[in-house]
Amino acid sequence: MQTSEPKAIEVTDLTVAYQDKPVLWDIDLDVPPGVLLSIVGPNGAGKTTLIKAILGLVRPAAGNILIYNKPYEAQRRIVSYVPQRGSVDWDFPTNVLDVVMMGRYGALGWVRRPGKKDRELAMHALEKVGMEAYTTRQISQLSGGQQQRVFLARALVQDATVYLMDEPFQGVDATTERAIVTLLQDLRANGKTVVVVHHDLQTVTDYFDWVMLLNIRRIASGPVDETFTPNNLRETYGGRIAFMK
């Protein structure tokens, strides 16, 4: 056991398999507090599965995951999750404010209903993502970028320490992308730890300070300038990538 400060996320020897097909092979990952980390890798590399394993949504076949030295179940309240936008039904009969308030449900616990304070926190989170004008908007009438902002507001309202986001840049317009990046950097500036599943290799160096290269096994992880190297990328993506640097 090291005496240094605790890791925000500490994954050791994590294997996740569907039947006998491994999706993640013996992953080790240390995420220090206060970094903005992107997880990159080809389709089917297990990026989403890794996030879900950290959140206890898929059961590992082996290995251990700690968040600030404790298992996830003990740390739910300090972890916030932004699922992929496509994972929910946007025709659900509800409006923007209501979805953001769902972020407060964890703090409320079973049965208790959200009240005035939760509403105010939700409004505040919507202001942060520039969606305060859309509070009563039916969610099916939002654009992809607006949907993503609503999901981010829902995560912000949890006021967590660790944020796990699955492809927040998927299918959003350039303005929203800028807004999200600013938001992520604000979170890091406030000492939060942010882990983002990311697709666009071109923006990794601009947006993030840490990166994990993943393709079923961990290829590398660490600060971007040390880790995001052509060699590591080639190993992650095989010969299938023409990446200029």
């Binding site: 959140l55 929910v88 409006n95 979805v99 049965v111 209903r113 099916s140």
Partner: protein, 368 residues
């Protein structure tokens, strides 16, 4: 209380009791599951009947509800193998369970009162005959008490766990991440659906149960964007269907259950056609308007492109317009009239000229 009132009360209470959990089934795209449950509970009822030799024992409801949950479990187990899709898993499971019930009845209960017709269609008309009596008083039909209890149960469950049901239905993975055990909520809801189905089934039969569970929520879904309102509207629509179905049945002297199911479809159809913004009529109107708007835009762009050029006179002559645009002459005239009405163009003798407004529309369309 007279018989008319008794039957209508039973129908209303049953309809509302079914509509409330039905809202969540519709939103979870699981209405077929209610169909499956309503059939698959038969072996549970038959087995409990053999044990108790009574059709009114509460054990019947418990056994049937158990079989209902078992159905959900079997369907999900099959699905989880990834070898069978959900609809096929449902299609395999419930006929198998149902047929076990049918075989049990035909083999062992041939001379007992457990009638297949009543099981499938139910008979609301007979429901008031079976009455609760205590201390020499007639306290009303038993079916009303059974369904009333189930209605209270459903209302309390949905009221208490409203927030959890909403989250687990909208975003199950967030619900799991926040520690709200969506699987537990799921099976809680499925138990509720099973109990409701069994209770309703005795009064109204299995076909009508499905109509009561799926019909009103689907109709309400067209009318609102708010979950709480969808629940209230579903309850109201269910009641309207029940009462109007009852009077339809009295009028034509037909099966009450059949008439209520028919009214469910008719009310859905009416709402489907007429609801503002997303009804079929509203959509058709919008499409028609868009068609004319688009044609008008094409016309003003055509005029705009040739405006002030040598060929402008030829291009804007009303009589030749249809040739330039390759439009049907009648259609061309209609578009010209439409644009004139909207003051996008003005007519002097045989020529069309753009107005300021028309020019603005053309410019805006071209910029986009």
């Amino acid at each position: 209380m007279n018989e008319h009132l008794d039957i209508q009360l039973i129908a209303i209470v049953t309809a509302v009791a079914c509509a409330l959990p039905g809202v969540f089934l519709v939103l979870r795209r699981m209405t077929l599951m209610s169909d499956a449950i309503s059939h698959a509970i038969l072996p549970g009822i038959v087995l409990a009947f053999f044990l108790t030799e009574s059709l009114s024992s509460p054990l019947l409801i418990l056994a049937a509800a158990g079989t209902g949950v078992l159905t959900v479990l079997l369907v999900e187990l099959l699905q989880r193998t990834k070898l069978v899709k959900e609809d096929a898993a449902i299609g395999l499971t419930f006929p198998a369970l149902f047929s076990i019930g049918v075989i049990l009845i035909s083999r062992f209960a041939g001379n007992v009162h457990l009638d297949m017709d009543v099981v499938l269609l139910g008979e609301l008309a007979y429901a008031p005959l079976n009455r609760l009596k205590a201390f020499g008083y007639d306290l009303g039909p038993i079916a009303l008490y059974v369904m009333g209890t189930i209605l209270v149960l459903n209302t309390v469950f949905i009221f208490v766990f409203y927030k959890e049901l909403k989250l687990a239905t909208f975003d199950a993975s967030l619900a799991a991440a926040l520690g709200f055990a969506p699987t537990l909520i799921h099976y809680g809801l499925m138990t509720l659906v099973s109990v409701t189905t069994v209770g309703a089934f005795d009064a109204v039969g299995s076909i009508l149960v499905v109509a009561l569970i799926a019909g009103p929520p689907t109709t309400a879904y067209l009318m609102t964007d708010k979950l709480s309102l969808m629940l209230i509207l579903s309850a109201i629509i269910g009641s309207v269907n029940a009462v109007s179905g009852y009077w339809l049945a009295s009028l034509f002297d037909v099966s009450i259950a059949g008439a209520i199911a028919t009214m469910t479809l008719i009310v859905f159809g009416l709402i489907f056609l007429t609801v503002p913004n997303r009804g079929l009529i509203a959509i058709a109107r919008r499409d028609a308007r868009q068609k004319w708007e688009f044609a008008q835009t094409m016309l003003v762009i055509h005029l705009f492109n040739h405006e002030g050029l040598p060929e402008a006179e030829a291009e804007s002559a009303i009589a030749d317009l249809h040739e330039h645009l390759s439009w049907d002459p009648t259609f061309t005239n209609q578009v010209v009239r439409y644009a004139l009405n909207n003051r996008c163009v003005s007519q002097d003798e045989r020529q069309l000229t753009l107005t300021e407004q028309g020019r603005a529309i053309a410019q805006q369309a071209l910029v986009q």
